[in-house]
């Protein structure tokens, strides 16, 4: 049983950031803007958040510090994503090119600034955020060890974001308007919706959640930040497509990807997997191979937003 708890706790560390980032990207893509800058946004968010943890580490610790860092990461992500929004909405650039530029910019910027501030590119931080056991809830049989032991407060933030995303996308006026902009912006405009404003909102949400996701990824899995989020931005893109742009499916897709990542990183500590003798590279590759296979079966009737990637031009109405 302990093995199950261990795997599940590890899975959470990998799953929650993927889910947060993919949900963010969902808002952007459903408003019609492709956002492949997730990797860069995560890097920037993780950088400022971890930098804050590092600089305030001497006289500040615990959950309060982490929450402030989370807010900083979200703000950074939003500001950074504004560049993508401006290029793709106002300048009608190719969204993939602008996203690629941001992906290249972020790690270079993080390394450069880290070197200017502290001389080396790694930003260390002391992890004082792990909750060994949540009071009361951690004692519940089965569920306690599964969800409320060895956890991070960010896990619960992630779950809240998931519920909120679902409600906002499907149960609010804003969500309906956002979705209509991704499907048929001309019709949305004719119905009196400000398409540009909706698309800005979509990209900014993806920026905020992307920045947060970067921090949430780095904190449990590392002790320093080295201008890199290990391809998680691209993996989140895969999660988004695997999840067919729908919140519940995205949650399950990130659970699956998180599980594979957890197995790849911790399999030597899991007796029965260790005995199988399959190298970790296999588990690292599996999520990508499965995504390819899933794409084969789903791309014919893809649920992708119809107007995705096409700059909205009022004149074409």
């Amino acid at each position: 049983m302990n093995v199950v708890y261990f795997i599940f706790q590890q899975t959470m560390y990998f799953m929650i950031p993927l889910m947060i980032v993919a949900l963010g990207a969902m808002f952007s893509e459903r408003s019609g803007i492709i956002n492949i800058a997730l990797e860069g946004i995560m890097t920037m968010g993780a950088f400022t958040g971890v930098l804050f943890l590092s600089l305030t580490g001497g006289n500040f610790s615990g959950q309060g510090q982490l929450l402030i860092a989370a807010v900083i990461s979200m703000a950074t992500g939003m500001v950074f994503s504004l560049l993508h929004a401006y290029a793709s909405i106002n300048m009608k650039s190719d969204q993939v090119i602008s996203g690629t530029a941001l992906n290249m910019f972020a790690p270079a910027f993080a390394i450069f600034v880290a070197r200017v501030i502290q001389g080396v590119q790694q930003v260390p931080f002391s992890n004082t955020f792990r909750i060994v056991s949540v009071p009361v809830l951690g004692k519940i049989p089965f569920l306690g060890p599964l969800l409320f032991q060895n956890a991070y407060v960010t896990t619960y933030i992630g779950i809240v974001i998931f519920v909120l995303s679902y409600v906002v996308l499907y149960k609010t006026k804003f969500g309906l308007r956002l979705r209509s902009c991704g499907e048929h912006p001309q019709a949305a405009d004719a119905a009196g919706i400000n398409v540009y404003r909706m698309q800005y909102a979509g990209v900014l949400i993806s920026g905020a959640l992307g920045g947060l996701g970067g921090l949430v990824f780095v904190v449990p899995t590392s002790t320093n930040f080295n201008a890199d989020v290990a391809g998680y931005g691209f993996l989140a893109l895969a999660v988004l497509i695997f999840g067919q742009w729908k919140p519940v499916n995205i949650m399950f897709a990130s659970l699956f990807f998180g599980l594979m990542k957890a197995v790849a990183s911790a399999y030597s500590g899991i007796p029965f997997l260790h005995d199988l003798g399959i190298p970790s590279y296999f588990y690292k590759m599996v999520p990508y191979i499965i995504t390819l296979i899933v794409l084969i079966f789903t791309s014919r009737n893809s649920q992708a937003p119809k107007a995705e990637g096409i700059p909205y031009d009022k004149g074409q109405r």
């Binding site: 650039s93 530029a101 290249m104 910019f105 270079a108 691209f234 191979i289 995504t291 390819l292 794409l295």
Partner: protein, 369 residues
């Protein structure tokens, strides 16, 4: 004819616009860090490559070789309506093929390096083939498929290299040296640029650039590839086998990126396949090279040399206590503004006459569908 020359002119103009803005942003960043050192540092970026004369120029060509080819791979795919973001994967898989043959097939003698290079081309083509097939037959977005193939390729190469003893140098956690017979010959370039790492790879790269330019502009095959890129449905209606075209486009793009990997790892300059879970940066730089050149093969040759030139200059920045990442920042900003430049180009075309605008718009429309 007059129309065409105006178009080329606006293309170069928009690239220069992006380069100037990128350099200005770089200068501003330098000023923020250290105002006193900013101007000499900036001068170093622009002229540092010449610090050591002919050797420095040779180094620029050495750095330029792989990124010209990855750029050509991206640019070629763009010309045929596909975004090949899979260059990092094709690059590393191609490089692995070359290293594999370079280490193990030592009995080939004088053709050893050619065999190793051809292997890199074949492996790269294979890695481009998969997204091509998926796009042609299952309508899978090639961007996503290529991203997946990048990581699959990277992990596979690391896995095989690490687990197969003859390939793996476990002291340094990287691949072993290839046999001397597998190194790319210098082709006389060591006489022109003494002391530098440049080799015949740059000549091969230039030949491939010319070959791709010829294919795209002077052959029916190239015309068909471009036609499918403009409008898949119309091409099919006109009798072009559009599935075959997409598959060939991705295969050729992959082959070029694979060759880039082969040329780098066979250069005999101490470059090995490192067992790290990081995609090779040469692949992503190729995207910059292609975008800066607006995907024109000849332009890619120059933009590749330009970015290599900045990179070479950047190495000397450490003298001023600036880190070399400023070059990556500048290049990223250049790419960001070159995305704007498409808009700038459209505007100039609009001024020059409606005809150009219309053809541009139909191109845009075809790419998106």
């Amino acid at each position: 004819m007059k129309q065409k020359s105006t178009k080329n002119y606006t293309g170069i103009l928009s690239s220069i616009f992006a380069i100037v803005l990128g350099l200005i942003v770089g200068l501003i960043v330098l000023f923020f860090c250290n105002a006193q050192q900013a101007l000499p540092g900036f001068a170093t970026i622009l002229t540092g490559a010449f610090t050591h004369g002919a050797k420095g120029v040779g180094q620029v060509f050495y750095y330029a070789t792989p990124i010209i080819l990855t750029g050509l791979s991206v640019g070629f795919a763009f010309k045929t309506g596909l975004f090949n973001i899979g260059t990092p994967g094709q690059f590393i898989v191609g490089g692995f093929g070359a290293v594999y043959v370079g280490i193990l097939f030592t009995s080939l003698g004088p053709v050893h390096w050619i065999a190793a290079l051809l292997t890199s081309v074949a492996f790269g083509a294979l890695w481009g083939l998969v997204p091509g097939l998926l796009k042609a037959y299952f309508n899978v977005n090639e961007v996503i498929a290529s991203i997946m193939m990048n990581y699959i390729g990277m992990y596979l190469v690391n896995w095989i290299t690490k687990s197969y003893k003859p390939l793996f140098n476990n002291l340094r956690n990287e691949s072993r040296n290839v046999a001397a017979s597998a190194n790319i010959p210098k082709m006389g370039l060591d006489k022109i640029f003494p002391g530098s790492s440049v080799n015949g790879g740059i000549i091969i790269a230039i030949l491939v650039v010319i070959l791709i330019w010829l294919i795209l502009n002077k052959t029916t095959f190239g015309y068909e590839l471009k036609a499918v890129g403009f409008n898949r449905d119309a091409s099919k209606f006109a009798g072009i086998d559009e599935k075959k075209s997409i598959i060939f486009s991705m295969m050729i793009a992959g082959a070029i990126a694979g060759l880039a990997g082969g040329l780098l790892y066979l250069a005999g300059t101490g470059k090995h396949i490192e067992i790290k879970d990081v995609l090779p940066s040469e692949g992503f730089t190729g995207i910059s090279v292609a975008l800066l050149a607006l995907n024109n093969p000849i332009g890619i040759l120059f933009s590749g040399i330009f970015i290599a030139y900045l990179t070479a200059g950047g190495f000397y920045l450490q003298l001023f206590e600036f880190s070399t990442e400023i070059i990556d920042i500048i290049v990223a900003v250049i790419i960001y503004f070159s995305a704007f430049a498409l808009m700038v180009k459209l505007l100039i075309n609009k001024i020059n006459g409606r005809k150009a605008t219309i053809s541009e718009q139909s191109r845009e429309g075809g790419k998106k569908s």
